[in-house]
Symmetry: C2
Subunit: 338 residues, 2 copies
């Protein structure tokens, strides 16, 4: 085991789109687990759009990071030292750690992963927090019924790609918005989406949606916001449900963004619009994990990860989320098997 | 009984704020009821903001009126001729008729009213459609819990004034937005609102709300939209409920209005925003009517009507809704007791 561990810290708060000098790679001694803790040698770490919110100096649903704090997020790796009876050295686990070579976690917050079901990166995507977000957000907030038309924005991302497939498993017609021809082809050819709209190739999203979903929209799972969402709202059916999961189009905004008002249209549709956070379903995480693992194991759900190599490239991978560089889950490979 | 009946018709579609030349008073023979129908001598008719939507040439939740059509809405009056076993001449009833001296209704769609509980105009307000809208909208969409802070816009209107009082009966703290000192005084002194904000006297609605509801907003019952709603959205608590009942600030807009985007804030609050129409609760109208009548009879709910005299002034009364002329329900007195 190495003596030192690299760790990314927040060097300064971004204004608008983050730049690389907002991040600082620090070298420190490998941390030492205390009683009840485990030391993880990180194999993959997760970069997620919501982390942009934690870089702001304002309260939101996640506490803001202080300048100088290590960046945190999902990690998967192997136990390198254990002060817990729960895990032995060499066990493969996932949890919430730091963007680092080594990270210490409370053993109670760690979950064993099974490499026979999927390779490790999947446990940061479809078999991790994004998969659970898709599962609870679609089923509990979106409430899809067989025959419903479900529209997903950010459909080729970790959450969106899982949402669309769960909707198909529930008998829905599924339409995705994604940002390249490669992505839309993946959605329709590999994931079973009924239609996919390349929002970078189309200009009139409402017209594109009219073609792809002529019967209107019963469930909208929104990861994006902005003009895509504006168009979808004009096509909502009576009693439609909108699950507001993410608004990546607005995460770098410095001012409150403006756009078409949506409340007037809600009276005619009686649509329900509701924000969601996966942590509200924490007591049911095992249910989602088990169900998602079974779907993946049975081949009912396809997953994909975009892997950037090297901890030193983690900020690039994070910034790539806002450029839409990832197909499926964006992860960073920190180390290879020992 | 007179031989002729005056009747207001839509002369042309308004653009922006309606003007008086959009309406035309027509004189015709008194209509004759057929089997199963009753002829009503109208005593009071209702003008409601939602009628503006029916003057547009576009589908919404209510079918558009054709140019030349009689204007329709709630009426209360006495049966002048009956071809039904259900009602006798002289019975006092309410129903949905035309803006006219006499109107024919299907007896099955008519409801008897009890002048011992309240004077006739109340049956177009708190004891009529607006009261039922308040009842179902607040209780079924707003889901108030004791101790919740409930904010109502258009609080001195027929719907809003009833919403606030039902919320008080449910143990909530109630804050209303209204457009004059007379209205806010009525809310706090006669109706038991905990606080009322005169939005014409204040400029910073968010600051006013911070004073009136320092603990934030759990339920927002929106009749108005626009800047008041923008301010309330910045104060929504975790798991807040927003019942979108009306958006009078936008009914005269010719273009889709723009404003601050609200979806990004829903993730942190997990607020639920839902449109409502009272007709979705049609099977439960008797429940609401009975409950509201009991509250009024017991003195638990105060009601008030603003009465414009004369059928010839009905368009003025309608236009006055957009100027905020009414305190409580705006009605038009069409005739006096025979």
């Amino acid at each position: 085991m190495a003596d030192t561990s690299r760790e990314w810290r927040l060097a300064k708060r971004p204004h608008g789109e983050p730049e690389l000098d907002c991040f600082e790679l620090h070298e420190r001694d490998v941390p030492v687990p205390e009683r009840g803790e485990v030391l993880i040698r990180v194999r993959y770490l997760s970069v997620d759009p919501y982390m942009r919110g934690r870089m702001r100096d304002s309260e939101s649903y996640a506490d803001p990071w202080a300048v100088g704090d290590p960046l945190r997020g999902g990690v998967v790796g192997e136990v390198a030292a254990s002060e817990s009876d729960r895990y032995d050295v060499g066990d493969l686990v996932s949890g919430r750690g730091t963007w680092a070579d080594y990270t210490v976690l409370d053993a109670a917050d760690v979950t064993a992963v099974d490499p026979d079901i999927a390779d490790l990166p999947a446990y940061l995507g479809t078999l991790g927090m994004p998969g659970r977000t898709a599962y609870f957000g679609l089923l509990e907030v979106g409430e899809p019924k067989p025959g419903d038309t479900v529209v997903v924005s950010g459909a080729a991302g970790a959450v969106g790609s899982t949402v669309g497939q769960i909707a198909k498993l529930n008998g829905c017609r599924v339409v995705g918005f994604a940002g390249s021809r490669e992505k839309t082809a993946w959605l329709t050819e590999d994931l079973g989406f009924d239609a996919a709209i390349d929002y970078r190739a189309r200009e009139d999203y409402a017209a594109a949606l009219e073609e792809a979903a002529p019967g209107g929209v019963d469930v909208y799972f929104d990861n994006v916001g902005g003009p895509i969402t504006d168009a979808v709202f004009t096509k909502l059916n009576r009693d439609a449900r909108v699950a507001v999961c993410g608004q990546i189009a607005h995460y770098n905004d410095e001012e409150v963004p403006t756009g078409p008002r949506k409340l007037p249209s809600l009276i005619a549709t009686r649509a329900r619009v509701e924000g969601l956070l996966v942590r509200d379903f924490a007591t049911r995480h095992d249910e989602a994990n088990d169900r998602l693992a079974r779907w993946v194991d049975d081949g009912d759900i396809v997953h994909r990860e975009t892997i950037v190599e090297g901890l030193e490239n983690a900020p690039d991978a994070f910034l790539g989320l806002f450029a839409g560089d990832n197909v499926g889950k964006q992860v960073v490979e920190v180390s290879t098997p020992p």
